[in-house]
Amino acid sequence: MTPSSHLPVTRRNFLGGAGIVVAFSLAGMSTARGAATGEAEPSGTGAVSVLPDDLQPFPYLDSWIRIDADGKAQVFTGKVELGQGIMTALLQVAAEELDMPPNLVSIVTADTTRTPDEGLTAASHSMQYGGPALRLAAANVRMLLLRTAASMLGVADTEVSTMGDGTIRASNGRSIPYGAVAASLSLHVEAVADAPLRQPKSYRSIGQSLPRLDIPGKVTGGASFIQDMRLPGMLHARVIRAPSEGMKLALPPRAEIEAIPGLHAFVQQGDFAAVVCEREWDAVSIMRQLMANPSQRQDENLPVGDIASILKPLPAKDYVIEKVSHPTAKPVKRLEARYTRPWYSHGSIGPSCAIAQMVDGELTVWSHSQGIFDVKRVASSLVGMPEDKVHAIHVQGAGCYGQNGADDAAADAALIAHLLPGRPVRLQWMREQEFGWEPLGAGMVTEAVAELDASNRIVTWNYDVWSPPHNTRPTTANGVLAGWEVTPAFPPAEKIPIPMPAGDGSRNSNPLYALPNMDVNFHFISNGPFRSSAMRSLGGHLNVFSIESMFDELAKAAATDPLDLRLDHMEDARARAVMMAGAEAFRWKTRRKESKFHGFGMGFARYKNLGAYCSVFLEISVEQNTGAITVLRAQTAVDCGEVVNPDGVRNQVEGGLIQSLSWCTREAMSYDTQRRTSFDWSSYPILRFQSVPIDIRVDVLPKPGEPFLGVAEASQGPTSAALANALADATGLRFRDMPLTPEKLRRALITL
């Protein structure tokens, strides 16, 4: 019997050890999951008789689906397209359960007057939680269509079936199109939990790589993005801020600004200021002119030095994440290590943009925010208008990967439009504003102590993680820049971490491995040196990096293959399958170092320990004189449950892999004591084409009938870990502090 088989089934400490967190996580869940808890997991009981979480607050079918007399279906989702392909995948889910061809189905994404409020489009939740809601709603509609058709055709309910082409056929050969049935059917009825779902063996849409709906427009110059929206009479605004958060710009007197040629209006409220022009380039030019005025730091100076010495002394609230204790054999080897990552920028290629218009006492905001219902709440509180007079509509922007400047820009635009009613106002942040003001992905530190017994079992696992917040998503004006600038200001809310199991800086800090003794602690630093919020995978990135690096360090100490050490400590069958499938495809067992500075590494995680499983295998070479890494081969294997759109999953996993390589090897927000100093792509370099792996393969394991598991963030942690492990294999040196830049590597390798 292995020590781990003694572990109690409920060993995970879901409550994060803090009563306040428990209470918080259950509050306000009825209408808006995103509003209070950011990216927390829904609180559903999982019982079959209960509607899926996203369906509970909006049980009426016509909130989700309408069928026109011409037989076309319109689907409404509170989720939004971020470039992750969710619009197409959700449409496929609806088409499947309606049993209609996808081309007869259209989809409307988050719009506060038209769609259900499904909270944020974040945390890889859309398919895992939004999918089942839409799916069951569609299954209910199909059930009602069948019943109504049966009575119209004069046959029993059991004598009719849908044909996949938008018609229903009776056993007597008569058939009727959906449109004719829908005309005499009200969908203003509540969903039932037991509507029959279509079965995998008869799927027509789920499992198909339906081409993305939005790509043809995007490759031909269609009006695909909010940046492409042009409303009649639209004005162009630029918000005027200092170069970086924590600073304040001294502006000349109002009259002087208003005399600048080309200016339509200068908008000022407290410390908030914006210029509004008829022509966009005039707005840019005037903004630049005003930004030439001096700026001064308002906040205390930024701490400089290594990240551990900055973060660890800061006041922190401690949470016990995992504490298990079992008798084991005596340890014979002990390893200790510290791992870090810097502050990251989301680095959206398109800086944030928003459009707002105030007409007849109603405010409309168009935004690419991930939380469009929160955009409405924020705007409403910021300008002091009732929520029913504020309307927010999602329009696509550049990929955001978390909370970039989108919510701030939306609030900025709302405030400008409120102060300047009538014409629509388009606000575009500039590149340097995005770098200077967006919430960053938090810098973090972890420390791990692990011990092996004589038979290479891990008998001790002590782990600590220190992190500023990964979720400061705004739900009122107290969470956006404009709210802090107006008079009277909205003071920032107290920051509370997302509770486990989703976790914040603690995300994925509890190893999925079966370890007999674990002491995992999260030190939440509510006030870090920078504004920080959600960035793809949150704390999961460094936690997986740390756990998976330590596993390789242990494997080396034990003189064991890193894959074997993992499998020896993993009981979850799906996790094992994903590791073994990736290893098999990569030919891990027969790998051979071809030269000095050539090597292999792997990483694994189940995202949040409740989303998709992902293993990553890399083969790399490193150039000794430059420290440049070439990734020769990247192989991943993924289990995300039932796969709706296989190519969509591959695209997300492959994109996450490349993005994670970029984070791991070159990215860091630079700063001095006064300000963020990264303001462009040369001071914040990201990966370019010549550093993309030579070969990338993503294997998606088929899991028909299994629940959907969120996949979009699954490769972030494992990839960075696999790279560090491959580097250790290639060079014999262990690199624990990201970014592993060529310069850092060169300095270490040149002496070898």
């Binding site: 081409p211 993305r212 398109g350 550049a398």
Partner: protein
């Protein structure tokens, strides 16, 4: 001042100060969506268009510098109904995530294929180096360029140069 421009084979007259970046004229005056504002610094390539067949950063190019020259934007390569060869290749490879960088990517790639219809992988990577993608779609973009290259070669073999 009044400036006359040749964009996608059509003549346009706009009123703009001569130092206005071409990008703003294309987007705001001509209402063309494809070229995107990304950095305004010539570092990301989202604004890439062609001037006399060469890829340029329209965010850095003063509109006055394009007088008497041919400007081509992504819209000049095809439409959603009738996409050009590269555009079709990007659709076939599903070579986009958010797609914000894609117009610039296609224009950058088009300039490569126009003088080197059969580039190697390394030539593609090198040529595409100025353009940034944050979603990590690079590998698919490389595949799309190779696919377009293969289509071009096939056309040439059939004596069809279009």
């Amino acid at each position: 001042m009044t400036i006359s421009l040749d964009v996608n084979g059509e003549r346009h007259t706009v009123t703009a100060s001569p130092d206005t970046p071409l990008l703003y004229v294309l987007r705001d005056d001509l209402q063309l969506n494809a070229a995107k504002y990304g950095c305004g610094l010539g570092q990301c390539g989202a604004c890439t268009v062609h001037v006399d067949g060469n890829a340029v950063f329209s965010c850095l190019t003063p509109v006055a510098a394009t007088v008497g020259r041919r400007v081509t934007t992504l819209e000049g390569l095809g439409t959603a109904e009738k996409p050009g060869i590269l555009q079709q290749a990007f659709i076939d490879e599903q070579a986009a995530q958010c797609g914000y960088c894609i117009a610039g990517m296609i224009m950058r790639a088009q300039s490569l294929l126009s003088y080197n219809p059969s580039p190697s992988d390394e030539e593609i990577r090198q040529h595409m180096q100025p353009n940034l993608c944050r979603c990590g779609t690079h590998y698919r973009i490389i595949r799309a360029i190779k696919r377009a290259s293969a289509v071009l070669a096939n056309h040439q073999n059939k004596g069809d140069a279009t």
